[in-house]
């Protein structure tokens, strides 16, 4: 609680807030230049999200994988790595959950569902851990390997679905009997596809926080992330920590995959291209300043924007890609904090002046 208070009393939150405002401004300018009405567009965006219980539920559904992939990227970041491969890890997690969910369907549900979820996390973790291993043992930049492994994961997932799980005549797997859906909320949210994955995501964020800042293992990972030389000097096994951190990062992403197939679609498609979960995860992690609480908040913002963007194109005819520009700008302003400070300067100046008067 003390920590929480500290987060909100320091000025660390001012920069992201101003960055968000600036990002929306950039979006508005882009819309004005394109001949659109930004106010109508933004209004349509928020109306879409908060307009009906169904839409609100669906927006939460949209936020869920963002939380987990955001946590995945953030966790790796804290340990000194840039995991661009959350995308592939999600795909592998999906596939693992689908395989278990279909092939072990004879098991009772209370065994099957947890097993499928665990398989997803484990496989996602191993997939990411391999990139960590290559970095630890061979010094290969994880950015490159994780990107390459995204493609490999995409094709591998498609191969498995097409060869072993295909629903005849369709470009997708059979239906998965295992389900993470929260069916008891169906009436409240008008059959929006809410599922237990959201709670898993929040649990993951809590785990993230406690593990990294309260445990011995987390202490090691932070040390490795901040200064691998000092960590080695202090007797920590840098390579092992890198692999472990990537594994945990991949587990988060894999769980996101489980939520998608077991909670939302109940089958797995053959994907023509990468679904882009990892790409979003990077944005969420950066928006959330790689802090678990920040990541959850960022996922809520990002989910709101992306889900609402459909409303924006429907209500004000604005291409939904505009939201990417808004989000890109927000991250830009957060990364280049100097710009935000520069924008804020006149404010601080003014305030001081007022005090003098």
């Amino acid at each position: 609680m003390y920590r929480l208070k500290k987060i909100f009393t320091t000025d660390s939150y001012i920069v992201p807030l101003v960055a968000i405002v600036l990002g929306f401004l950039v979006g508005a300018i882009v819309m004005l230049v394109g001949g659109y009405d930004p106010i109508a567009a933004y209004a349509a965006l928020f109306k879409r999200v908060f307009g009906s219980p169904y839409d609100f539920g669906e927006a939460v559904r949209e936020m869920t994988p963002l939380m987990l992939t955001g946590l995945a990227v953030a966790f790796a970041f804290r340990s000194g790595m840039f995991n661009i491969g959350a995308d592939g890890q999600v795909m592998i997690g999906m596939t693992a959950a689908t395989v278990v969910g279909i092939k072990l369907a004879f098991l009772p549900s209370f065994l099957l569902v947890p097993l499928a979820v665990i398989a997803a996390g484990l496989c996602g973790g191993l997939w990411a851990g391999f990139a960590g291993y290559l970095k630890a043992k061979r010094g290969i930049n994880e950015v490159i390997t994780t990107i390459m492994m995204n493609w490999i994961a995409l094709f591998l997932a498609n191969y498995i679905v097409r060869t072993f799980l295909l629903l005849p005549g369709q470009n997708r797997s059979e239906n998965i009997p295992a389900s993470l859906s929260m069916t008891f909320l169906n009436s409240t949210f008008d059959n929006a596809r809410l599922h237990w994955g959201t709670l898993i995501a929040i649990a993951a964020a809590i785990f993230f926080y406690i593990f990294l800042w309260k445990t011995k293992q987390g202490y090691e990972m932070r040390a490795v992330g901040l200064n691998p030389h000092a960590a080695e000097y202090a007797g920590m096994n840098v390579g092992r920590n890198i692999v472990k951190a990537m594994f945990i990062s991949g587990v988060f992403a894999g769980l996101a995959g489980a939520g998608e197939v077991l909670g939302v679609f109940h089958y797995q498609s053959v994907f023509a291209a990468s679904p882009g979960y990892g790409f979003d995860g990077i944005a969420v992690a950066l928006l959330g300043l790689t802090h678990p609480l920040g990541v959850i908040l960022a996922a809520i913002l990002y989910g709101t924007l992306t889900y609402g963007s459909a409303g924006m194109s429907f209500g004000a005819d604005v291409p939904p890609e505009l939201i990417r520009i808004v989000i890109g700008s927000i991250i830009f302003f957060i990364a280049a904090q100097g710009i935000v400070r520069w924008v804020l300067k006149p404010f601080y100046f003014k305030r001081k002046k007022e005090k003098v008067l």
Partner: protein, 512 residues
Amino acid sequence: MSAAAPVVELKQITKRFPGIVANDSISLTLEKGEIHALLGENGAGKSTLMNIVFGLYQPDEGSIEIDGKPVIIDNPNKAIELGIGMVHQHFKLVDPFTVTENIVLGMEPKKGLKIDYKSAAEQVRKLSEQYGLQVNPNAKIHDISVGMQQRVEIMKTLYRGADILIFDEPTAVLTPQEIIELMAIMKRLVAEGKSIILITHKLKEIMQISDRVTIIRRGKVIDTVKTSETNPNELAEKMVGRDVTFKVDKQPPTVGQAVLKLIDVSSKNKDGVSVLNGLSFEVKAGEILGIAGVDGNGQSELIQAITGLRKIDSGSINMSGKEIANLSPRKITEMNVSHIPEDRHKHGLVLDFTVSENMVLETYYKSPYNKNGFLNNEVINQYAEGLVKKFDVRTASIENKARSLSGGNQQKAIIAREIDKNPTLLIAAQPTRGLDVGAIEFVQKQLIEQRDKGKAVLLISFELDEIMNVSDRIVVIYEGQIVGEVFPQDTNDQELGLMMAGSLKRGGNAGV
């Protein structure tokens, strides 16, 4: 002195940084053909002042005159134009480039679109002959000696036609013989009409070579005196502001059993070059063994080998009767080895951890700091609080990041952590580098105190004075080998210097 205007005149230069006044109304003149020493402790403001002269910083107040004309030097280009050249303490040389490439960078002679390397190399050779600098124009920087690297730095300024040369702590990395050579070069430069500002905190050199000395302390000029009219004690007192002896107080050692024993240790680096070459020595309980040597002769690798950060290919490292060669750093730490690392930012601290987190960097996994996998922050904070008090680490709070501490306090924090582990062997690598006199005294006192408690202390330093003053016994390392073993009371700088340069072997197991 003639009526001509001084080549450089600084008038009441003031430079403020957040929280401190680095230069407080400093005035100084440099006459033509003069070697003018600028004396002060680390952090006194010497480097700031010279960076202002060289255009890297702008003064907040005051003015600069060159040959009697007021000038504004707002970037290094302007300084170069005005004939000012700087020989930096940390050489500004691009390692994978050749000597010539480094010298001509930014002022390349051209033939068509190409750099005319032929005429460039020719010019380098000419300058090299004129001033007796002896550099090989086509050698790569990472293949040449430190002394030659420094001559390349000098050459860079001469190539640009500098008449005013600023030497920033030029002798810090040189052997006594190389220092003599450097002095000769400086004399020759002055004879050729150049003027020199020499920044240093070494009194011996000032007495040997300078014409005048300006002493600054805490950003203020204390005095400017003629070298011929002063003496080292007076200078020292003015520099530090109180009577200092520079002699370390210590009793003769009570030497016990050998604690650390290295026999024939060899190790190659990743390019297959031998960095440790069959090296043998031992450190006994209750003594401080100093390892003298020029930077880059295997000192870092030696420490890495002892502490488990580097694998050795052959030989034996024995600690209190147990073989520790090629064990993990953690296993070795657990044998009661403490290590004050050479580079405190790279190895000693996680700068973005709090002071308190840094205090348990090697012990966090042990009880009581670790309870069932969870860190016990209360205990850790209590422990850190205690250490901070005991070793007088100045920090507003133990929750502050280590980054926010001054260099001296960062070093104190490391020393606190390492000494408090109650080691059998304490390895101190360059423990006083970059610290001011007060902090240096503190660190050296701690080392001697550990020795008096019967610990074995291994001291690695490039500062000959420190080796001579603090050690009970000295071994000299050269190209990964021990080439000499002497007692400080029966040797001198000259002899050590010859050994450090590899041209003399003496005593001990030098021949092995």
